[in-house]
Symmetry: D2
Subunit: 363 residues, 4 copies
C-alpha cells in the first residue's frame, strides 16, 4: 500500500490536485480521544496556500470534514475519515502540461510508470496530497500530548545561504509563527523574507533547510535494525515533495570529528541517565535515549519558475515551457507544519509499537 | 516486524554478536534463479572483518550455509534460509559492559527499552547483524542482473576531510576494490589510508561518507507519496549502524541554488527522454526517471575508542570505561558492500511492486 | 490496519451506519482500467437494501461518487476514493440501544473493547460497512475480466433446511438474479421465499448457506503456507457480518470418505493437466490447480428479531429489549454480491502477487 | 511475505522436508519471558512423527536449537531463531515423484506456479513445515499464561463417522493425551483407534474433525471488519495442510435455527456481563465477549495411500503411482498440537494489537 504510512497508527491519503477533493483515512487511532474539526483545522490553516505573500496565492479554504470515526466529540477506535474539498481548481491553466513535461516535476515519471496521468496541477504529485498528512498529524499531536509532555517544533533554519548558526534554544511556537517565513530568529527571518521576495520578483524560486526538534520523548522508542526511529523519520521526510536530504544529530558535520570528540558521555541526571553532549540527536542504536531529538531536512528550490525552460513533449520532441499562473517561490514555510505532522505520525506509531511489545505481557 | 525489510522481496535478519549464529530468511525470491553459496560468499567476504589493517581484526570466516529454498542449484520460490556461524566470540572480553553503558553505543537504549540485554559485543546491535543483509543483497544483485544491465557501485568518497571532489565518472568495481579503503581514486585512497592508520595508532576512530550510484535502472520504479524510491533508500541507509545522514541528487548543496539553476531540462535522447543535467539524482516525484541514481550516506566515527570515557553503570552511577580488544577505527570500507546490498534490496522490491501494478493486467 | 484488506490490491473501508457517509480507498489498482461510477453502481444496487420484500426496507439510493483515482474515464494508478452518502439515517430509532446491548450483536463487544461506541444502527459493525467492499469488488471484477475469462458466481444454496442438492451446473448470472432470493433453481427459490416471508411475518429471522464458484482461473494462484488461496478466502468470508463457517471443496462432507475415495486423479486434458474429480475444490497445497473453485459460507440467522429478548444494560443490570423498525429477516440474498466482491478482491490480489514473484524476473 | 504470520507477534517459517533443516524466526516477542529449549521441545514432541502406531513412522528426534533471541534464560525482545535438523530424510524414496504428480498433493500446483520444485517428500508443502509453527506456538502459549488464566485445548472430535456428541465439558489436557488419538472420551477414542488401525491395514487413510476451545480469554480481543478474531482463526486453520473447513460457535448447524432460537441473551454474571447460551462461540462482531471460544476444523483424509492411483507425469501423459514407504493413515492426532499452536499465535497477536490501540494512550 504505497499510499499508507504507519503500522499501528496508519494513515492512507488519497486525492489529486484538481479532483473533487483530497482526504485521509486514519486507522488505529485509540478510542476516547476528544477530537473536533477545529483541532484539525488549526494545523491545516498553517499549511494552507495563500497565507502570505511568500507562498502560493492559490485560494483554498481547506475546510476539513470528519466523515467517520468520531462520535459525540470523541474518537471511537474505528477509522477516522477526513475530507477536504478542492475549490480553487483551474484545470484550463494546465492544458499545456497535458503535452509537455515540466522540468524536475513528476510529470515524466508518472507518464513513464503509469502510461497515463492526470496532468492538471500535477495530479497526485501535487503538494495538496500533504493535506491528508497534516490533518492526520493533528490527531497524532493530540495523542502525543496525552502521552506526556512531548513537544515537536519545526522551523525554517536556512533559505539558500541565509541561516541560523547552531541549534540554540528550543524555540517557542510563538517565535516560529511570528513571521510568515517561520524562522524563530527575527533578524534572520527578515533577511530570508527579503530573499524570497527578491526571488519571487525574478520569477525564480529558492530552497533551504527545515530543522525539527522533539523534546519530552521517553527513552525506548524505536526498533533495532530496520525500523529504527531515525530510519522511519528519514523515510517520512524523504517522502515529502521536494525533499533531497535528511540528517539526524551531528549528521554530515559529525563525520569530520574523531570518535573521541563525537561520543556522548553518559552522566547521571536528576531524572535518570542522560548524556553530557547530544551529537547522537536523541537516538542510539535506532532507539530514543530520552535526550532531545533533532534533525534537518533539505528542500530543493521549487521546480516551477516563471521562465522559459527547455523540455520535451509526449512524443519526445524538444520544446519549451514557461511557468504561468500561481507561483510558490519557496516551499519552506509551508513545509514546517508538514514536517511536524510526519514527525508526530512516526512518534505515535512507534509509541504504540513499543508499548505493545514491552508493556503488555509482564513476567 | 521490525526485523523485516521489503514488501515483496523481503528479508528477515536474526542473530546476536555472541550467539551461536546469525542469519537471514528471504521470502519472495522468484523461482529459477541459479544460486550457490559461492554467489553469496563473495559479498560476505567483502564485508568480513579482518580483511585489512584498516578494519576490525576480529577473525571470522563467515561461511554461509544455505539451509532452504534452493534445490539442485536453483531457487524454488520458497523461503531461502541462510546461516553464518559465529566463531570468534570472546564473551569474557565484554564482562565490563554488563554493568557499564558504552558511550554512543546502543547499550543504554536497549536496556531502557527491553529492561535487559545481551551485553556481549552489543548483542543484536552489533554490526554482525548486517551479515544477513549482505547475504540477501547478493541474491538481490543476481536478480537485478537478470532484470537488465543494472549496476550498483558504492565507494568511500570521504574520510573526515579527505575526499573526492565532484561525482566524476562511474567507477569500475576494480577501481573500488583496488585499495582496502574502497575509494576509487588511488591518490585520495592513499591519503585516507594514512589517516585511518594514524587514527588507529591514536586509539581513536573516524567517520565519513559513502557514495552509491546506480545506472541502467529503467524509468518507472518507485511509488508516489510514501514509498518513494528515495524514501525507501533513505530508510534503508538510516537503518545501518552508525549512519547519520542521507542525501540524493543535489542534496544539501542543491539548496543553495535557485530553481532556474537547479532544474533538469528534459532533452530527447537516443533511448527516449532524458535530462540534460541530473541534479534530481535519477528520481522525480519518487519515481526513477532512467538517469543515474546517486546518493550519499554519512557515517559517524566509530563509538569504540581505546581511551577512557566517562559513563554510568546500571545503577546510574558515574564511572569510567576504556575500550579494549578489537578495534575498528573506520567503518566505511566495510560499509561499502552493505550499502550496495541495501540498495539492491530496495531496487528489487520496487521492481517487483512496479511490475505487479503496471505490467500484469492490460487494457 | 484492521480496516484494510489485501496486500497489493488493497482496500480500506471506513464509515458508520448513521454517520454522514461510508466509503473505501483502493490502493494498488493498475492504471488504464476503464472505470465509471456506473460500473460500480451496478454491484451496489445488488447489495442495496429495499430491493425486495425479502430484505431490509431501509431506503438508501447508495449512489457512489468517485473522488479520486480516475481521470478521463480510466484509472491512473493512484488511490481510488469512493464515497456513498448515508441518507435514510434514523438515529432516534436507536436511542434504546445507547443503554442496552442487543443480543448476538456487536454492541457489547465494542463497548468492552473501546469503552464507548456509536450505538446508532450498530455504528461501524453495521452491514453498511460492506458497501465499500462491494464497490471495491466491482473494480476487482473488471480487472479479472481483463485478466482472462474468469467468472465468479455466488448464490444462495440453502435457507435453513431448504436447499439445493449437489453442486450441479455452473449457474448463469441470469438464473441467480431471476428471483429476489438469488437461488438459481426456481422451485427451490420459491420454497425459500415462502419460508422467508413466513419468518418475517413471525418477526423472526433465518440463516443459511451461500455457495460461491469460480471458473476460468489459471493454475498457480495462491501461496504456500500461510497465504494459501483457501486461507485468504476463509479469512475474507469469516470477516463478513453474521458468517460462522467456511468450507472449500469437499469440506466437512469429505471427512467421511477414505483417502482412496477422496483423492482427485490427475488426467490429461485438452488444455493441459486436469483432475478427474474435484473434491479439492480447485486448490491443492494452497495454490489453484486450474479446476473450478467452489466453497460455501454459513450465515447465522439475523440477530435482530421483532420479539422481546433478555439482555443487560450498560450498568450490567438485567433488562429486556424488543427489536423495532426496519427488519431484515434473511441476510443471504444481499450477501451474494458481497461474497462475490470479497472473492474478486482475494483473486486479484493473489494474481498480482503471483505475477510479481513468478513473471517478472526470468532466468 | 507469504511465509510470515502475525502482525505484532509474527513468525516466519522456512525449510523443506528433505533439506538440511526446518526453522522459524519469531519477531516481536516481548522481552523477559523465561524460555528454554525444553519449553519448546514439549510441544514438538506432541507433533513429532513416530509417537504411536497411528501416525507416520518417520523417525525424527526433532530437537530444537535456540540460535538467537534468548540470553541467560530469558527472551531479549529481538528475533528468536529456532532450528530443527532433518535427520530421517530418504530422498531416494521419492525418485518416482520427480516425474509424477501425486494425486491431491501439492506436486502439480507447485510445478505449475514455480516451474520447478523440490519433489523430495513434498518439499515445502510437507507437514514438516508445521514444526516451526508448533515451536513458535509454544512461545505464544507461555505468553498467554503470563497474560492470565487462558487455556487452549484442542482434541480430535471425529474420525470419519466416529465422533463425540455435543461440546461437553472443557476437557483436561490429561484426558486428551491419555490416548494416542487425542480424543478425551475413552470409549470414543477406542473406536477411533480401531478405525484408524483398520484403515492403515487396508493401505488407506481417513480424515475427520478437530475441535479447539479457549477459556479465560478477556473480552475485547479481535478487530472489527477484516481482522475479526474468527477471520484470523479461520485463516490460521485453513493454512494448515489438509484442512478443508472451519466453523465457529454454532457454525453450519446454527443455520437451521431461527434468530429467536439462536441469539445469546446477555445476563449479569459474577464477573460482569455474560451470555446465557453461547452459540456465538465467544465472538460477536469479530471481538471476543469473554465467553468460551470454540471452533472446529475439517481435515480431509491423507492423500498418500498404499494403492495404485491414476495420475500424469511431467510431460502430461497418463501414468500410475503407488504410495510407498512411510504412511500416515490419519493426520488428526498430530494436528491437535498444531491447531493449538496456531490458536495461541492468533490470540497473542490480537492481545498485543488490542493493547496497543486501547491501553496505551489514556484520556
Amino acid at each position: 500500500m504505497p499510499n499508507t504510512f504507519g503500522k499501528l497508527f496508519s494513515i492512507s491519503t488519497w486525492g489529486e490536485s484538481h479532483g473533487p477533493a483530497v482526504g485521509v483515512v486514519i486507522d488505529g487511532c485509540p478510542p476516547g480521544l476528544p477530537l473536533s474539526e477545529a483541532d484539525i483545522q488549526v494545523e491545516l490553516d498553517r499549511r494552507r496556500p495563500g497565507q502570505s505573500d511568500l507562498v502560493t496565492p492559490r485560494k483554498e479554504a481547506d475546510r476539513v470534514e470528519i466523515l467517520a470515526g468520531v462520535f459525540e466529540g470523541r474518537t471511537t477506535g474505528v477509522p477516522i475519515s477526513l475530507l477536504v474539498r478542492n475549490s480553487d481548481a483551474r484545470p484550463g491553466a494546465y492544458d499545456e502540461m497535458r503535452e509537455k513535461f515540466r522540468p524536475s516535476h513528476a510529470d515524466f515519471t508518472y507518464q513513464a510508470k503509469y502510461g497515463l496521468r492526470d496532468h492538471r496541477g500535477g495530479g497526485r504529485s501535487s503538494a495538496r496530497e500533504t493535506i491528508g498528512r497534516v490533518a492526520a498529524g493533528a490527531v497524532a499531536k493530540k495523542l502525543l500530548a496525552a502521552g506526556g509532555p512531548v513537544e515537536i517544533r519545526a522551523y525554517v533554519s536556512r533559505v539558500q545561504d541565509i541561516g541560523l548558526s547552531g541549534l540554540g534554544e528550543f524555540p517557542t511556537a510563538a517565535a516560529v509563527e511570528a513571521t510568515p517565513v517561520r524562522c524563530p530568529d527575527a533578524a534572520v527571518a527578515a533577511a530570508m523574507i527579503k530573499r524570497i521576495e527578491d526571488v519571487r520578483a525574478a520569477g525564480d524560486s529558492v530552497g533551504g533547510v527545515v530543522t525539527c526538534r522533539v523534546r519530552g520523548l521517553p527513552a525506548g522508542l524505536g526498533e533495532p535494525v530496520f525500523d529504527r526511529l531515525e530510519a522511519d523519520l528519514a523515510k517520512a521526510m524523504l517522502s515529502l515533495p521536494a525533499s533531497k536530504g535528511f540528517e539526524i544529530g551531528s549528521g554530515y558535520a559529525g563525520t569530520f570529528l574523531r570518535g573521541s570528540e563525537h561520543n556522548d558521555a553518559f552522566v547521571p541526571k536528576a531524572e535518570g541517565v542522560g548524556t553530557a553532549t547530544n551529537r547522537s540527536g536523541g537516538v542510539q542504536g535506532g532507539i530514543s535515549n530520552g535526550e532531545e531529538i533533532y534533525f534537518t531536512v533539505a528542500f530543493k528550490p521549487v521546480a516551477t519558475v516563471m521562465k522559459p525552460q527547455a523540455t520535451v513533449d509526449l512524443a519526445g520532441h524538444a520544446t519549451e515551457l514557461t511557468g504561468r499562473g500561481r507561483h510558490d517561490p519557496c516551499v519552506l514555510p509551508r513545509a514546517v507544519p508538514i514536517v511536524e505532522a510526519m514527525t508526530a505520525l512516526v512518534l505515535v506509531d512507534h509509541w504504540m509499537r513499543n508499548a505493545a511489545q514491552t508493556h503488555v505481557f509482564k513476567f
